[in-house]
Amino acid sequence: MSMTTSPLTPEIVSQDGNAMVLSMGPQHPSTHGVLQIMLEISGENIVKAEPEIGYLHTGIEKTAENLFWSQAQTVIERMDYLAPSSNAYCYCLAVEQLLGITDRIPERAKQIRVMQAELTRIASHCVWLGTHGIDLGALSAFFYCFDMREKILDLQEAAGGARMHPNYLRVGGVQADLPSGFMEQLDALIEMFPGRMRDLRKLLQANPILQDRLVDVGIMSQEEAQEWSITGPSLRATGIAYDVRRAFPYGGYEAYEFDVITRTEGDSYARFLVRLDEMEQSMRIVRQVRDALKPGPIAIDDTKVMPPPKETIALSMEALIHHFKIMTEGFRVPPGDVYQAVEGPRGELGYYVVSDGGNRPYRVRTRPPSLYNLQALKGLAPGNLIADLVVIIGSLDPVFGEVDR
């Protein structure tokens, strides 16, 4: 007799003395998305944890192959939905390398991109901190974090027109100049940020309950982190100062001062502190960009890549033709392949882009930091309580849009 195969594993598939297998997720408030973990537990203790992914498989990489180079960015932004601009940034840098226009990007465009990338990092860490707090029962942190995130989303909306997926960064520059009033909004955020961080630190960092839950939970050694290809805050919490912004600078990051935050403990609390400090470093970069911003062009002056300004279309035949060509058949990219990485909020976010010379990508392969970081779960979970597993997932900060793609 053949059993019908259900994609849902039965909640209890075997019972052997004290040990049993329990399915956690894919709908679970603390798995930060659609993660299923098959837990082998003995009482409250985890014997084995087997993450089951793919519940959000979207076929983004395949879909991107059927879209123009510029359109592909739309689906790519929806990969890591907490940091859409980081994804767009990385993809744009990769395509620009293939086009050979990396050196021709105007200074102002570079600065705006860095600012957007860092603001996105803060917004992403806000969501992480808020949800991590909820997992631990500290609900108030969520309200403070999301309030601050709203301010950042307002900035993104002002610049790009949408709250979450602004599609503001483009191959060749940015889509439009910063609108009037943007700087005042940004200044208000810069003004409010230190106080809000102080509040959050008071609420969480020194909180003995939180420390009880985080300290010495899910300790990762440097060797383990390297074996599992962990990057980002989780790696830096083990003491390895690897930050793509510092190791392989891109997009003008050389010009800004910031510290690569590291800690040596490697536990959940260390990961927590690294991210908190990182938010402050990101704001430090934003402040530097804000002071360095000079008026100037915001996109490359090349009508083969960037459509000419809208107002010129009615005046110049040439502009009309270029606009029409880019809108209807996109731009062509010389054959070749390139790997470009940026430091996303979760670690090394990389794009391996292949072009066959056409107006659509031949292949867009992502290196999503969450997928690699999630590997650690299998090694970190055994020996802990189920309640600690929630802490470990939260401290690894996976985003499933990116894991499953």
Binding site: Q27, T58, K62, T63, Y81, F143, G401
Partner: protein, 159 residues
Amino acid sequence: MEVGPGHFLLAKLDDVARWAQSSSVWPLTMGLACCAIEMMSATAPEYDIGRLGSEVFRASPRQADLMIVSGRVAQKMAPVVKRLFDQMADPKWVISMGACASSGGVFDNYAIVQGVDTIIPVDVYVPGCPPTPDGLLYAVNLIQQQIREGGRGGLLART
């Protein structure tokens, strides 16, 4: 409702029950993708879904009235969504939040269910990619309106 001569109100029991029910629509804690983040934003201070009585997100489908399908439904997730919907007690409502849940959105491919209404009945669709939290609040408003008017799945619909 009308005010009587003393300190009491006269109303039909149906209306009172529907009023109470429409003011406590509890959503299921089910986040799928990008829209789930906007759903969380709707609970945050700026939008505060608590004003509509819907701030109590329940992790168990047994205790939830409203399923907000927040994001793209992958083929692998579809049976899970269906099962969760089946586990919710009657009466129940469904909001299809965002372009992906409503129609597959930009992901017209092998991996995504082209509209969650192909597997469960949907009461309100919210356009957007992702919709703003205001959009979600409006959708909850529409659900409340449906309940007050005794629409599909209302408290007294089964009698």
